[in-house]
Amino acid sequence: MSTENKTAQLITKLIRETAKGNVKWVVEEAPRSLNYETEQSVPLYLQTKYKDKTLGIYDLRSKHFTDVDEYYWSESIGFCIVDNKGRVVWELKEYSPALLDLFNTAREQAAGIDDILDNLLSN
């Protein structure tokens, strides 16, 4: 099985496990290599421990230059594996609907949106 297929299966597995509450995501500072000395910005980074590995998923804003001083920003989702010193050892930036779904599922869980809404709706 190719790395691409294995990654797709891992993403689906993480969506399932997150929905069941077996995987917990928390908002963390993004690893340095994602935010510093690059033409990109990571406004939201979520991290979890899964089978002793640290996994991260993040909102990625990238600068694309059309001329020397003209550029536009594009938004995508990134997924990475981080080592115990906080270095990104593997990264996936190719867009897929499943990656976006994982990001949204993780974000909802990290924000505790269910509890917030329940609390707001309670008398």
Partner: protein
């Protein structure tokens, strides 16, 4: 009959055959151009809808234990969109979409397609993973189509 008339007949026959070949070639090319225009117009729209229904599939699959019908309905929407776009795709993508539709409803006894409602939870999540990959490849095709 003079010999030059027989030769003229032969030239006429060869020209007719050549004309038929050119007509068939032009017919195939015209179909390709028509499909290319349809693809450029419709594929970006259908891709947007496919992204929405793919997210909906995952949302509904999360609640499979409580109620599986909405997830199965979401797969039916996926099927309708893919069947719509399939005839407009180039052969490689058409094959991928065809393979996916066959997996969505595998054939029983060679002819009869099984119902989407017979899907198990694991099979449904596997189909979701494949759908995500398929949508990504259709999005790449839409980008390529801009250069056709």
């Amino acid at each position: 009959m003079p010999e030059w008339l027989t030769d003229l007949n032969k030239i006429g026959s060869i020209s007719s055959i050549l004309g038929l070949v050119v007509t068939i070639f032009l017919f195939i090319e015209a179909r390709k151009i028509r499909n290319s225009f349809l693809r450029r117009a419709r594929l970006p729209e259908i891709n947007k809808e496919l992204v929405k229904v793919t997210s909906n599939v995952s949302e509904q699959l999360k609640n499979w234990d409580a109620e599986k019908t909405p997830a199965l309905e979401a797969f039916s929407n996926v099927k309708a969109l893919l069947e719509n776009i399939k005839p407009k795709l180039p052969s490689e993508e058409k094959r991928k979409v065809g393979d996916y539709l066959n997996r969505l409803q595998p054939k029983k006894y060679l002819f009869i397609k099984t119902s989407i409602s017979e899907l198990s939870e694991d099979a449904a999540w596997e189909l979701y993973t494949e759908l995500s990959g398929l949508v990504t490849s259709l999005q790449q095709l839409a980008k390529d189509s801009k250069w056709d």
